[in-house]
């Protein structure tokens, strides 16, 4: 059986290799900070295996997470010079390979889908090929490896170091932001352990009229959008609103279909992102890039769609999630 842990080790190994590349990259003014950040993250992926099966204590991993937060949070990571060839060279290569360039990229979702639907049912000696519950994630790993193979053959690229360097450049330009989603789900769990969800749930139950499903759906969807507008980030709003209403009220109390409630809830947050100046990278940066006098131009263009979509999401959830 292919276990999810193998895949996490692969990801951890990728982080470690890239960290080594960073450590020797003299063009990166903060190369040791960067190498420490991604190297620790890679090591944490391996150590976590022991934490999950309870053979290793969780506290040291907690310390590592806090160190990662400090390294990323205080700007101790940086990026080196990009290895990307100049635009003319890329344009020439695009002209040469044409639409074939899309083929490896499409390999990822196709393989992932096949794994999640067909391979899911395969068994060898009565044992499933892919660890149950992780078929899609494992499909992503298999798909990415297959895509890399297809890409290297197609582009006649012999050196494995080339994709690793390009990937590292992308990793460096995303920086610590890459870790944010995982840390937000960590925060969500801590909220739950400390009883935040229970508290907010109790308040919402007291405020919400009993059994009013449509009202509860509207509060969850509207709350996601509103929190996102305030915080500028649907990822941060999600753990809070889900622990408060999404999970305890909509899913547990009213027997909602969890994937539907949560996926649509997240999209309600995106409606908020469309209209908030707090989400600078999506709304204000484009205005600056396009040299607009009115920096709220994109928000004004998006506002009516965002409002209509929020209503759509409430309706879709109320109709199909229960």
């Amino acid at each position: 059986m292919i276990k999810s842990e193998y895949f996490f080790w692969l990801v951890g190994a990728v982080f470690l290799v890239m960290a080594a590349q960073m450590a020797i990259d003299r063009t990166n003014p903060k190369r040791f900070g960067s190498a420490a950040f991604w190297g620790l993250l890679g090591a944490a992926f391996f150590y976590s295996t022991g934490v999950v099966d309870e053979s290793l204590p969780a506290e040291p991993l907690g310390v590592v997470v806090l160190v990662l937060i400090v390294l990323g949070g205080f700007g101790l990571t940086g990026k080196g010079e990009s290895h990307t060839p100049p635009r003319e060279k890329r344009a020439a290569s695009a002209a040469r390979f044409g639409n074939k360039l899309f083929l490896p990229a499409l390999t990822i979702p196709v393989v992932a889908m096949i794994c999640a639907t067909l391979v899911k049912n395969w068994k060898i000696g009565g044992e499933p090929v892919l660890e149950p519950g992780y078929e899609t994630i494992l499909g992503l790993g298999v798909g990415a490896v297959a895509a890399l193979a297809v890409g290297m053959v197609l582009l006649r690229e012999r050196k494995v170091s080339v994709p690793l360097h390009s990937g590292r450049n992308m990793l460096e330009s995303m920086g610590w932001a890459l870790l944010l989603p995982q840390l937000l789900s960590v925060l969500g769990s801590i909220f739950q352990t400390a009883g935040v969800g229970d508290q907010v749930g109790r308040i919402t139950e007291a405020v919400l009229p009993d059994g009013q499903r449509l009202v509860a759906v509207a509060v969850y969807c509207g709350g996601m959008a509103l929190f996102t507008i305030v915080m500028g980030n649907a990822f941060a709003a999600f753990p809070v609103m889900t622990a408060a209403i999404g999970w305890p009220v909509l899913i547990e109390q009213m027997n909602g279909n969890a994937p539907a409630v949560l996926a649509i809830g997240m999209l309600c947050g995106f409606c908020g992102t469309l209209v908030t100046p707090m989400a600078a990278n999506f709304n204000l940066v484009p205005a600056a890039l396009l040299e607009l006098k009115d920096q709220y131009g994109p928000i004004k263009a998006q506002l009516p769609t965002a409002a209509a979509l929020l209503v759509c999401n409430v309706v879709i959830m109320a109709l199909f999630a229960f």
Binding site: R90, A94, A147, S189, F191, L262, M266
Partner: protein, 243 residues
């Protein structure tokens, strides 16, 4: 009740634009301690939830192949494809771009578009050029801003309501990571991605209709400014006469 201060820390932290990692770290520690966990238990819960939320970060595995393809001109090729849509009206062009952006994002290709990658170099100029070709003259400043804003809007809405149909995008993995580690569940990313499809279709219909309507709006406003120009011209000659 006092544990709710942790939520407040998150809201204030994000709203005042502190570094998000620090906000999350501080909120986690404060909430844990207020929730009567010992410092050791706080560390353990950081560690345990980090370990069970690793699936959120596994999309990193796609970076080498995407990086390789970009090196060989993936973005340039996407540009060439879009460039072939030349002779459409502004609204139709942006609607088609919206569709392309949604479809490519839904197979994980989120980085081939974006304000810097495609909107500024390509989408905004082409949308403007289409409007000017139809008007037969340069656009007035106000309309130029409107067209550019819509170019950016089509890009953002396209990627937002396309990417969640892909299983390995941050938001989908955040949902599964959060729920699986917090409530001890086994949600599959695929099921979540499927539930993003109805909203994606609504987004296309609503925003597409608005973009098509943009053509009519532009026509109307161009007619108004043209009339104003004529009036101004006539007014000009009349004052000439009066002199």
């Amino acid at each position: 009740m006092i544990v709710l201060l942790g939520v407040l820390v998150v809201i204030l932290g994000f709203a005042t634009r502190r570094n998000p990692l620090l906000v999350v770290g501080a909120a986690g520690i404060i909430t844990g301690l207020l929730g009567k966990l010992s410092p050791q238990e706080v560390l353990a819960s950081f560690g345990n939830s980090f370990a069970s939320a690793r699936s959120v970060t596994v999309f990193v595995i796609t970076l080498p192949v995407i990086g390789l393809l970009e090196r060989y001109g993936l973005q340039e090729q996407a540009r060439t494809l879009i460039g072939k849509l030349g002779k459409l009206t502004t609204g139709r062009f942006l609607t088609l771009y919206l569709l392309i952006r949604q479809l490519t994002a839904s197979v994980g290709l989120t980085s081939i578009g974006g304000p810097a990658q495609s909107v500024r170099p390509l989408i905004a100029p082409m949308a403007e050029a289409a409007a000017e070709a139809k008007a037969g003259r340069p656009l007035p400043q106000k309309l130029r801003e409107k067209v550019r804003s819509h170019a950016s809007g089509a890009d953002t809405i396209g990627v937002f309501f396309g990417e969640d149909c892909f299983i390995a995008i941050g938001s989908i993995l955040l949902i599964t990571g959060f729920v699986n580690s917090t409530y001890d569940q086994h949600l599959e990313p695929l099921h979540l991605a499927l539930w993003a499809i109805p909203s994606a279709i609504c987004a296309f219909l609503i925003h597409g209709a608005r973009l098509l309507n943009l053509d009519r709006q532009l026509e109307r406003e161009l007619a108004v400014t043209a009339a104003e120009n004529d009036l101004a011209a006539h007014a000009g000659t009349r004052t000439e006469d009066a002199k």
